[in-house]
Amino acid sequence: MIEYDSAVRRSPLFSELGELLRYRDLLYLMTLANIKRRYKRSTLGIIWTLLGPLLTMTVLTIAFSNLFRFSLINYPIYLLSGLIFWNLFTQTTQDAMNSMIWGGDLLRRIYIPRTVFPLTAIISGLINLFLNLIPLAIIMLIFKHAFRPALFFIPFAILLVAMFALGIGLILSTMAVFFLDVIYLYQVFISAWFYLTPIIYPRDIFPARYVWYMNLNPLYNLLEIFRAPIYLGLIPGTNTILAATSWALVSLLIGFWVFTKKADEFAYRI
């Protein structure tokens, strides 16, 4: 028999994991609904996902290739891998916030594990990412860019990026429940973040003495472990891997902790 006793409180972090396991079918169906919603209404849905980054890439390549022509060979691949990374991060964190507001109606009416919403956003983002890798592979073929064994490192890199994005998504969703303007502030924030991260420009554009400061930007090392195997055909250095892993773990732990600690208040606030 199912028992609920509001006085018994295990650590919110662990009880949430147990509840997620119990509601795993819901997680699956919500993700499915999310994907369907994205692609159903327009037959061009999937094609848009493939074309979107390609179009951005073309525009930016035309705009910047003269600028960086001498320092970066196969600039389109450098750029496209960076954009795909960026899309994964921003889409999932923004989706996590929005789904929390969208799901607010439900949270006021029935109990479900609240982490379902941000998790749905992450899983949908990952599916989107795999679709995005198709045009990247095509571009690599066109430019006769070598597919090196280092590519086997990519799943691990994606895992770290997803962990980091989930952590940030959890923190942002918690804040968005209490303050709606977080959604807009974040939009401003990420457009600045975009230019602070070497996505469209080469990493060595900054003078050497400032390079250390780049480590303070979590996306700097996370981008590197994703892009190095694709663009350079190399597994990134140990320091880069360590830095990226630490950021991913810290973000996820803090995010999960903050979110589950505040989750009981959500129904009061939304």
Binding site: M1, I2, E3, Y4, D5, S6, A7, R22, Y23, D25, L26, Y28, L29, M30, A33, K36, R37, K40, R41, D105, L106, L107, R108, R109, I110, Y111, I112, M175, F179, L180, D181, V182, L185, D264, A267, Y268
Partner: protein, 249 residues
């Protein structure tokens, strides 16, 4: 059917629920930061429930009455785990089936079929179990011909019926009804009342929130009267309703 009259299914132990509202609504982080610096955040505490104590046993049909804002919906939310009590504690044993308000837990872009699964898992069921009950749900809701059409093409009545059919397909231990009888056509109302009565005869505990005092009097043996978040009376329905009507006159 052996009915357990010793261990309560629902046990309110000094439950209080507080909504903490900022004096003026602070909806933005910017505003919050400024106020925080100026130390000018004042809260108004609004106690939606105060020290609620009562027990509900297996097979009881309990009506909850009181004027608007008395705390009836909050009480149901505490039972269905949506709100955790600010003070005190609540114990609930068994499967709770909440009947959601119209359209909650549905996705209007998805088909009826997809929505049965989505809504079912929101209620905490497994996909595997929903598959087994699928035909019966469709049949009870009477939406067979529309099952693969998107929900946005459904009428209000159809969505209400579907929601009821999913939530009540298997016998719950506790059924929570919040003014559902206002909707649905007469034939469906009869069908749903029959189903509720069958559950009751098999030992399901039912909580009914309603403004319709005659309905409460005829259906429930026990009534909880809430006023301003306080239990004014708990007892046999006839007695409590008479007391309630005397104060309203």
């Amino acid at each position: 059917m052996k009915v357990d009259k010793v261990n309560p299914l629902i046990e309110f132990d000094n439950v209080s629920v507080r909504y903490r509202l900022p004096h003026e609504k602070i909806a933005s982080l910017k505003e919050y930061a400024i106020r925080r610096l100026k130390k000018s955040i004042n809260y108004i505490d609004f106690w939606a429930l105060r020290e609620i104590n009562f027990k509900v046993y297996q097979g009881e049909l309990v009506g909850i009455i009181g004027s608007n804002g008395a705390g009836k919906s909050t009480l149901l939310k505490v039972i269905s785990r949506v709100l955790r009590p600010t003070l005190g504690s609540i114990r609930v044993r068994g499967l709770v089936a909440p009947l959601l308000e119209l359209g909650a837990g549905f996705d209007y872009e998805l088909t009826g079929r997809e929505n049965i699964y989505l809504n079912g898992t929101i209620l905490g069921f497994k996909v595997k179990d929903i598959s087994k009950r699928f035909d019966r749900i469709v049949d009870f809701a009477g939406i067979k011909d529309f099952i693969d059409s998107p929900l946005r093409t459904y009428s209000t009545g159809m969505i209400t019926r579907l929601g009821f059919a999913i939530a009540t397909d298997i016998k719950p231990d506790i059924l929570v009804l919040d003014e559902i009888f206002a909707v649905g056509d007469e034939e469906f109302q009869k069908k749903s009342i029959k189903r509720i009565e069958r559950f009751k005869s098999k030992g399901t505990t039912i909580l009914l929130v309603s403004h319709n005092l005659n309905q409460v009097k005829s259906m429930c043996e026990k009534v909880v009267w809430l006023e301003g978040g306080i239990t004014r009376a708990v007892g046999p329905s006839k007695e409590v309703i008479e007391k309630y009507q005397r104060t309203k006159r």
